[in-house]
Structure formats: structure tokens, C-alpha cells
């Protein structure tokens, strides 16, 4: 029986050690984030852009396809991604920790304490009409990004900005375009891809449409996102907070 207790203690200790290893023991104070930015702008910004929104390298403020722990992210930075253009970046463990902290500051999770998430959910699927364009857990529209994990992937400030000024930042794959075909048909949609000879979009009716540019008379990038701005005319302050709380809970 004493052995079992000892074993339990050992197992618990090991668990704690392993759990601690999954997250870097770091300080995420503003000073640490600032240090991370200084390293980022020297070592990373050439490819990922000074605002981390991507250039030849990926947009690091975008939703990542893989969920990475801090330790995995640190390894990725210092060892690079074999088979891609991401090289190993020479940094010591403190520097790496600072960069990880900085990158995390660009993203989620969103921490929201005010507002009623149930009311927010009702707004999402009702009055605010978010579900017309966005999916959550397989239900909803396809014109905008899937929001199933948006509360995990995006910070509170990002969510606020997107709701108020969606045209400020449009993720790749959702740039609004207006096409006019040679026969005069006007097609509005979001651009999935484009090269010098072809363009692939999803139109407002959620149809994937592919065009050869030789069949188009005009292609215009639109200034305004297809997402409406949720200003005080659309949602009251209380409704806004409820919606925000609901979105933050989508983890």
C-alpha cells in the first residue's frame, strides 16, 4: 500500500514535469514581448514581414494549420522546417522563448470576461447574421473563414478590430473581387487564387468558379471586405459584448 502511494506521487511528479515541458517556463510580460519583437524584426521580418503578416514567408498572424505547444514552436524556429524555405534560426533558449512569447501575443486565445455567451450565440445565428457566411462546427456559411476555433486562434483585440473594421485585415483566400466576363456578367466573390492567366473564386452564392482571364473583361480588387462592419448602428454595446464573449469561447 505504501508502495502504491509512492508510485502515485512519482507518477504525479512525472506528469507535472511533462506538463511543464509542454509549455516553456517563460515570462510573458510586455518587456519579454518587446524583446521578442526586437529579435523577430532582425531574424524573421525579412520573410515574414515586419508586421508578421507574411511576405515570401507565411502570415504568422493567420490561423495555423497545426496546433503547436510552445516547445514545439521553439523547436520549429531553431530547427526550421525541412523541405521548405524556413531555415533554422540561430537563437539561444532565452531568445527563442522571447520570440515564442511575441508570436503568441499576435494571436489567441481571446480572453473576454464581460457579456453573455448564450445571448452572443443567439446573435451569431440570428440578428447579427454571422452564420450566413461563417461556419462553426460544420453549420453555417462558407463565404468567410471557419470560426470553430476562432477564440483559440485569435486575440481579443483582433476580434474587436475585425468586428468593427473588417476591411482593415482580410485573410488570404478571402480577398473581395468583382469580375466582369466578356459577355457582361458581373460576378462578386472572394479570391481563392490567381495567376497571370487564371483566377479562382467563390461567388456570393458559395459556388466555386474558375475563370481563364481571357474570358474576363475586368478584374477589380474591392476596397471593402464582403463582411459588414458591426458598428453601433448594427449592434448595441451590450449585444456587441455578448457576441464577443461567444466568439472568445469558440476554442
Amino acid at each position: 500500500m505504501r508502495t502504491t502511494a509512492a508510485q502515485t506521487i512519482i507518477v504525479l511528479l512525472l506528469f507535472c514535469i511533462c506538463a511543464a515541458g509542454a509549455q516553456l517556463p517563460y515570462d510573458d510580460s510586455p518587456a519579454a514581448v518587446e524583446q521578442g519583437l526586437r529579435i523577430f524584426r532582425t531574424k524573421c521580418a525579412r520573410c515574414h514581414n515586419l508586421n508578421a503578416q507574411g511576405y515570401t514567408g507565411r502570415d504568422l498572424t493567420q490561423q495555423w494549420k497545426r496546433k503547436l505547444t510552445d516547445a514545439q514552436l521553439a523547436t520549429l524556429i531553431t530547427q526550421g522546417i525541412p523541405g521548405t524555405a524556413m531555415p533554422p534560426i540561430k537563437l539561444d533558449s532565452t531568445q527563442t522563448a522571447h520570440v515564442v512569447v511575441y508570436l503568441r501575443s499576435l494571436r489567441g486565445p481571446a480572453r473576454v470576461d464581460t457579456g453573455d455567451p448564450k445571448k452572443g450565440e443567439a446573435l451569431f445565428w440570428g440578428k447579427a447574421e454571422c452564420s450566413k457566411c461563417h461556419m462553426v462546427r460544420g453549420r453555417g456559411g462558407r463565404l468567410g473563414p471557419d470560426l470553430t476555433q476562432v477564440g483559440f486562434l485569435r486575440s481579443k483585440s483582433f476580434l474587436i478590430r475585425e468586428l468593427r473594421n473588417p476591411s482593415d485585415y482580410v485573410p488570404r483566400g478571402y480577398d473581395p473581387v468583382m469580375l466582369v466576363t466578356n459577355s457582361g456578367e458581373r460576378v462578386k466573390g472572394v479570391r481563392k487564387n490567381e495567376d497571370a492567366f487564371s483566377i479562382q473564386i467563390m461567388d456570393e452564392n458559395e459556388n466555386l468558379r474558375m475563370f481563364e482571364k481571357s474570358d474576363l473583361r475586368d478584374i477589380s480588387q474591392l476596397d471593402q471586405s464582403l463582411m459588414p462592419a458591426y458598428d453601433p448602428d448594427r449592434l448595441s454595446e451590450a449585444e456587441y459584448n455578448d457576441l464577443l464573449r461567444y466568439l472568445a469561447g469558440l476554442q
Partner: protein, 526 residues
């Protein structure tokens, strides 16, 4: 067809195991060969081959694909000698391939030091060839000689110490009995130079420092001891005029790239075109495109040499579409500036003044809070090869129309670390690229073809009246040289960072271009 077959037989009588000085001077006159980075010493990258031309290029098909299996930007121009393709790749890999089938004959890879920081990708732009050896620069700043037939290392010299931040990526240029080699490293605060090694002994014949010491000509254009980390890299292959006996080479940015506070002065000879005597390494003339630069506007471009009639007189010219957004044409005998006009939208200078210096506008320096300036750091064009068609009289340039918000901050020098003093933000969706046909006598853009994002691929001009190039979305294209009409394209699936080249194999013309991690060969159907 018969004409080409006859020439081929004649050439094959002097078998290609020994490339002589005369062979290099002959340039692209031997149809089955491409013996130097830019095709020949002029840098025109204009092939006399015309089997593929406007009426048949739409039938161009893939002959073969060689997959390197090596990730990274594939920036090389292959050499072709009598049925064998010689190409370098990222991370100092290199291959010899059968030109008919694309099958590998040999593969070489350099052993690079495990921890090595280089700017801008572990790239290499190609071999030089002389006698029975291939010459390649390496990322740890060596010059390596490989046996043509086996790829074995048969010689090597250290150019300089990679731990100081030096690196080398350019294809060397063989001039007479010397291997001329450029260096990289200005992003790490190195002091730049151009080296010439004696081909037979491997000994250094001369070194031209692009950054002069105090007391030397140009030495008074650097405050205090900022010259010691002055930059001025020579990381792209130059060109050569055998009659004038001059080498033309571009020099790169001063360091720190975006912060000029501690290096007051024009910072000679950074961001310049230099004309050098290949026998002595002495500077004959220079022109500085962007004095005291704080935008990273390296002038590492191919200096294109052409003879054209200007005001009724035949003149020996050199032209450069510069990173700073201006197009320049000079008399290459003495550096007299004949044309200097923008070929893209610029915001930093009103014009190039009569004294040859830019008239700089206010609000065109990076600041701590950020300043919007056109063009961005990668510039109006970059290292990618332009090409010149003497029949159309046009230079085909891969141009970029991108602005950026430039930031600067204080930077402390630390050996082996980047020494930029700033960076920039480019808006993701604004800006575009274009293939532009420019008249070098007026800097006028005669036609353009727009790309949705800026291309980093070079161009190839042919006597078939075509311009071949690639783009960032992966298309290889052929354009009508006079009208700019796109006559053919192939979507290869990955960004293209190299320039195309072409050669005859038997009675068929091939075009080769590196695309993604592949080397793709194109030809007409049988």
C-alpha cells in the same frame, strides 16, 4: 534544319572537353553551347537560335523534368556543353545531366559548416567553365573546382572567412586566364571586394576592395571607421568587353542597410557600377546610383553591353535598370551618363541631376515611426537577368511596382549577426509586377505584361523574336518580343527564381528553366 546540323558537326570536331579562352569569346556562336552565366560576355542573354519562334511556340511541350529533391530557391542558369547540362542548386548541390533525357550523370554536394547564417536563401546561381573544370562559389565563401566528367573536387580556395559573415552565391566569370569571383555579406557588415584567381595555380591575382580605406580614392566618403563594415558586396556575375578590356560589375548596399547615421558621406563604392581592368584589378571608372543609401537598393544587376546608334553615332553602351527605380544608359568606355529616367513609380527622387546625382525628395528616409517610400527594399528590379534583343532594340526587364513603409533603428555591430538597422512592411495585396520592354535610349516602356505579384525570374531573348521568362505563381511564358503578346505559357506549380537559357541538341532547340525544385526542358514536338 540542315544549316543547324552542319554547324553542329563543325563544332563537334573540336570536342568540348577543353573549353578555351577563344570558346568563351565566341559566346553563343556555338549553337550547342551555353558557356557562361549570361550566355556570353555581353550579358545580353540573347540567343541567335530561331527554330522556336512566334508561329510555332504555342506547340512547345515539356521534353523532360529533373527533380532536384533539394528545397530552397533554385536560382541557377545551367551551362550546356555538347549534350551535357551542368547546373548548381541550393545548399551547394550540383549536377551533370544528359541534355536529351534529363537523366543524372553525376551529383556533387559540398560539405558546408553546420552553423552558417546567410541572407536571402542558401542559393547558388551557376557554374563557370574553363578548360576541363567547372568553377562554383560556395555559401561558406570558397571557390571550388570540379572535374567536368565526374564532378570530383579537383581544387579549391578559401575566398574569405565565412565567420565574418562572408558568403558567395554568384556564378564566377572566367576572363582570359583568371576566375573572377564576387562576394556576399553586406547584410552582416562585411567589407566587400571582387577577387580574381589565377586558373592554373589558384593563387589570388588581385583583389579590388569595393570599400576604400581612408586616404584611398573614395575613402573620404565614410565617416570615422564605418568603412570597416561598409558592405558593397559583389554578389552577382558581371560582364566583360574584350576589346576595351574592361570588366563591369555591380556593387551592393552599404551597412547598416537602413540606418545611415554612423556612416555619413556618399559611401563609395556601394550601390555602384564599376569598370575594372581585368589584368590589374584597378578601377577605371565608376558610377554610384544611390549615394548614402538607406533603402537596401543594391546595384547588383547584370550590366548589359550593347553597341547602338545614338544621335547618328555608333556608341558602346552599358545599361542598367536599377533597383532604385531609375533606368541608366552609359557610354561604357568612360562611364558618361547618357540616359537616367524612372521605369517604375518612384517617390524618393525628383530626377537624376545634370551632375549624375539623384535630386532626393524630402520624406524619403526610413524613420523610427515608419515612412512610406516607393519602391520597396527589393526595388524596381533585382538580381534577375534582363535580356536585350538587338533587332527590336529593347531590354526586357522583370519590373516590380511595390511600395513599403520603411523603419530604421540603432543597430550594434556583432560579428556573424545581421547588421541592418531597420526593416520594412510591404502591404500584402498592393503592388504588382510586370515584364517591361524598355528602350535603352529613352528609358521608355514600350510594352508591359502584368503579373498579380512581382516576379523574381529573369528573361531570355531569342532571335526567334521571343522573350522567355517565369513568374512567382509558377508560369513559364513566351512573349512576342515586339508586341508583348503572350504566345505560350505553362503552369509549373511553384515560384520561378531563375532565368531561362536555350541551346541546340542535334537538330532541336531546347529551352531550360529552373522552376520550383525542378529543372524543366521544353522543346517543339518532333
Amino acid at each position: 534544319m540542315k544549316k543547324f546540323a552542319l554547324i553542329l558537326i563543325t563544332v563537334q570536331l573540336s570536342f568540348g572537353q577543353n573549353i578555351t579562352t577563344q570558346d568563351l569569346l565566341n559566346g553563343l556562336k556555338a549553337p550547342a553551347r551555353w558557356l557562361t552565366y549570361s550566355g556570353d560576355y555581353s550579358g545580353q542573354r540573347h540567343s541567335p537560335l530561331s527554330q522556336i519562334e512566334a508561329s510555332n511556340v504555342s506547340r512547345l511541350k515539356t521534353a523532360w523534368i529533373f527533380q532536384t529533391g533539394v528545397a530552397g530557391k533554385f536560382e541557377a542558369t545551367p551551362l550546356v556543353i555538347d549534350g551535357v547540362v551542368y547546373v548548381t542548386g541550393p545548399e551547394n548541390h550540383a549536377w551533370a545531366l544528359d541534355a536529351k533525357s534529363g537523366r543524372e550523370i553525376w551529383h556533387h554536394v559540398d560539405n558546408l559548416p553546420p552553423s552558417m547564417d546567410v541572407c536571402c536563401g542558401k542559393v547558388n546561381r551557376g557554374f563557370a567553365v574553363y578548360r576541363d573544370k567547372l568553377y562554383m562559389t560556395t555559401l561558406d565563401a570558397n571557390l571550388v573546382a570540379l572535374d567536368l566528367k565526374t564532378g570530383s573536387v579537383v581544387g579549391g580556395v578559401i575566398i574569405d572567412d565565412y565567420k565574418k559573415g562572408y558568403s558567395a552565391t554568384a556564378a564566377p566569370l572566367v576572363v582570359k586566364d583568371k576566375i573572377v569571383v564576387g562576394i556576399a555579406g553586406a547584410d552582416y557588415g562585411t567589407r566587400g571586394f571582387l577577387d580574381a584567381f589565377d586558373a592554373a595555380s589558384g593563387k589570388l591575382a588581385w583583389r579590388f576592395w569595393t570599400i576604400p580605406k581612408p586616404g584611398e580614392p573614395g575613402g573620404d566618403t565614410w565617416a570615422a571607421n564605418s568603412w570597416e563594415r561598409g558592405g558593397g558586396s559583389t554578389w552577382l556575375t558581371g560582364t566583360y568587353d574584350p576589346e576595351l578590356n574592361l570588366i563591369y560589375w555591380g556593387t551592393g548596399n552599404p551597412a547598416p542597410n537602413l540606418n545611415g547615421a554612423n556612416r555619413q558621406g556618399d559611401n563609395l563604392f556601394t550601390n555602384s557600377l564599376v569598370a575594372i581592368d581585368p589584368d590589374s584589378g584597378k578601377l577605371r571608372w565608376h558610377y554610384q546610383f544611390t549615394p548614402h543609401d538607406t533603402h537596401d537598393w543594391d546595384a547588383n544587376h547584370i550590366p548589359v553591353l550593347a553597341d547602338m546608334t545614338v544621335g547618328g553615332i555608333k556608341r558602346r553602351l552599358v545599361f542598367v535598370a536599377n533597383r532604385n527605380g531609375f533606368f541608366y544608359t552609359f557610354d561604357r568606355t568612360n562611364g558618361e551618363l547618357l540616359v537616367a529616367k524612372p521605369y517604375i513609380r518612384t517617390s524618393w527622387a525628383k530626377e537624376i541631376g545634370r551632375n549624375g546625382k539623384p535630386v532626393v525628395l524630402p520624406g524619403s528616409e526610413p524613420t523610427e515611426k515608419g515612412q512610406l517610400i516607393c519602391p520597396d527594399m527589393d526595388g524596381g528590379t533585382n538580381w534577375m537577368s534582363p535580356s536585350f534583343n538587338p533587332d527590336s532594340g529593347l531590354l526586357y526587364v522583370t519590373a516590380r511596382e511595390v511600395c513599403a513603409t520603411y523603419y530604421s533603428w540603432p543597430e550594434e555591430y556583432k560579428q556573424g549577426n545581421t547588421y541592418w538597422g531597420g526593416n520594412s512592411v510591404r502591404p500584402r495585396n498592393s503592388g504588382y509586377g510586370a515584364l517591361r520592354a524598355i528602350d535603352p535610349l529613352t528609358a521608355e516602356v514600350k510594352w508591359e505584361f502584368r503579373y498579380p505579384t512581382p516576379s523574381m525570374a529573369g528573361t531570355l531573348s531569342t532571335a526567334g523574336g521571343l522573350v522567355f521568362t517565369g513568374d512567382m505563381e509558377g508560369n513559364i511564358s513566351a512573349f512576342d518580343a515586339r508586341t508583348g503578346k503572350n504566345l505560350w505559357h505553362l503552369q509549373t506549380g511553384a515560384p520561378i527564381y531563375a532565368a531561362p537559357m536555350t541551346f541546340m541538341l542535334g537538330d532541336k532547340q531546347y529551352v531550360l528553366i529552373a522552376a520550383g525544385v525542378n529543372l524543366i526542358a521544353l522543346t517543339l514536338p518532333a
